[in-house]
Symmetry: C2
Subunit: 340 residues, 2 copies
Amino acid sequence: MRVIMVGFGVVGQSFAKLLLSRSADLYSQYGIKPRIVACVDNSGSAVAPAGLDLERLLAAKKAKGTVGAYEKSGVGKKFAPIHIIENVDAEVVIECSPTNLTTGEPGTSHIISAMRTGKHVISVNKGPLALAFPSLIELANYNGVMFRFSGTVGGGTPILEFAKRCLKGDRIISFQGILNGTTNYILSKMEEEGISYEQAMADAKEKGYAEADPALDTDGYDAAAKLVIMANWVMGMKVTMKDVARTGISGVKASDVKKAAGRGNAIKLIAACDTRRLDVRPTEVSKKDPICVNGTLNAVTFSSEHSGQQTIIGRGAGGMETASAVLRDLIEIRDTVFER
Amino acid sequence: MRVIMVGFGVVGQSFAKLLLSRSADLYSQYGIKPRIVACVDNSGSAVAPAGLDLERLLAAKKAKGTVGAYEKSGVGKKFAPIHIIENVDAEVVIECSPTNLTTGEPGTSHIISAMRTGKHVISVNKGPLALAFPSLIELANYNGVMFRFSGTVGGGTPILEFAKRCLKGDRIISFQGILNGTTNYILSKMEEEGISYEQAMADAKEKGYAEADPALDTDGYDAAAKLVIMANWVMGMKVTMKDVARTGISGVKASDVKKAAGRGNAIKLIAACDTRRLDVRPTEVSKKDPICVNGTLNAVTFSSEHSGQQTIIGRGAGGMETASAVLRDLIEIRDTVFER
């Protein structure tokens, strides 16, 4: 199975390490032998039809900051990702370039060109999905390729698979969740230590949980993007970012948190979906509710028609965790498309 | 798809109701049209090769206490379940006779005779699995039939499917869980109200959560049975009830619960499994741990090699919930064995 990797940041590198450590096992247990035949990042690219040497690829990235350093002659020589996607023979493209929730680029263009050239796509990038889910699914169907994106929601926690596979035969009526670890850390901290939003945010930055521009998290964009992906995939809705009513957490006061605690509740940034509305906003939830998790954990509760309410909880981020979601997608594509 | 139902208690009747309410939908969405061609309970049986009329079957059971009343001439006329299983043409047998964790009977005999006559088996009955899991799996493989039992653990909460399907490509190293709702209700009640074990037990009986003979729950047998099923299915261990070290909750004192609470912890009946040991015993867990759920909820935390820890929480019982698990199994058998 030949794979093109677009983007080689934390998740991409973790995926390469995962393949290195699991290759024997993957072959014996699942009959797959993934070869990364091309890898492209911001500053360079590496191509090898027989498969790149992953240890050398990781070393090149570490030493020079780009996979272009894989070959001596490769430094400074740059092929555009689209050129690689369209011209290198491969079955699967893994899109893990950085998420942009305003334009969806460059991820959207990568995915479109992969699908158009008949390649299955695994995306870790939320941007294209949040902005154009319905049309990307249509394009995948039109071109007869598979499109998977388990790592976009819940990191390594298989939230999308749970909804889609484990509740087969039942009907999910609604779901709600804590989908962003950074805001959950901030709100948990405010409650536990009685501190203000600003103080908790400073702490989150210090711990490396918040980005330089934290608005993506705190204004609820990240949670909204994940909500859109889930609403499309789990509920069959055809929605994008603009359909989400969104309120961030910057208006949550220490006194609000304290009052809620007095009622046995906590304030959480809840992303909710039923068949009519998509909502991200600070919401008071009972501390006895399984969804009420603390720290950087994510949690989603699904309500289904016959099997009741189920909650799934796990870390919503992490390079190796997300890489394990990419691997699950790869195995699923293999199982579905290629006969063993 | 022709189905024989053995046992027609709460779960069996819920399953019949589920088929009635979902038949159109099941056909359009999954292409399945299950027909119950025979149903047998303690006092009688009903057989109809073209499929029993489920409304009439439910009415007969309700009016006379047995499915034997389906035909006027059927009252008092009784075929043994084994006779029905061996002589009625069908693809699937659903075993939902009462659980017996000492002998495993009559469920084990039903399952063996179904497999020997080439029928796939769905069991809601924990007894046969707790006592003879490895040999039943072997028998199923030998006879080329499928064996599913989603409803035995977690009621409608897809705990077994989650472990088996959603974490594909990863390796579960260990898991621990609250697998029995009754004991969790009692322990939660002791903590919330500061009452004794005996008082909480009386309350559980009043609410209908405890059986006339509550030892199955309180001595940890039910949790141990579920642990055995999970250890075999999820971890590939070959174990039975006798491999579980088991301590019940009757020795838990109000003062123990209070002391634990002072440390921010709660005492829960935890069933735990790693590759070396199987354990059911009252254990102090942090209230911040997602596994620390209250009331009749069940919760399981899986630790896997690459994707970290994940917890799944839901009601562990309920007729309709468990029936929905049976339906999931049926769809899976259909998808795997029969081409659409």
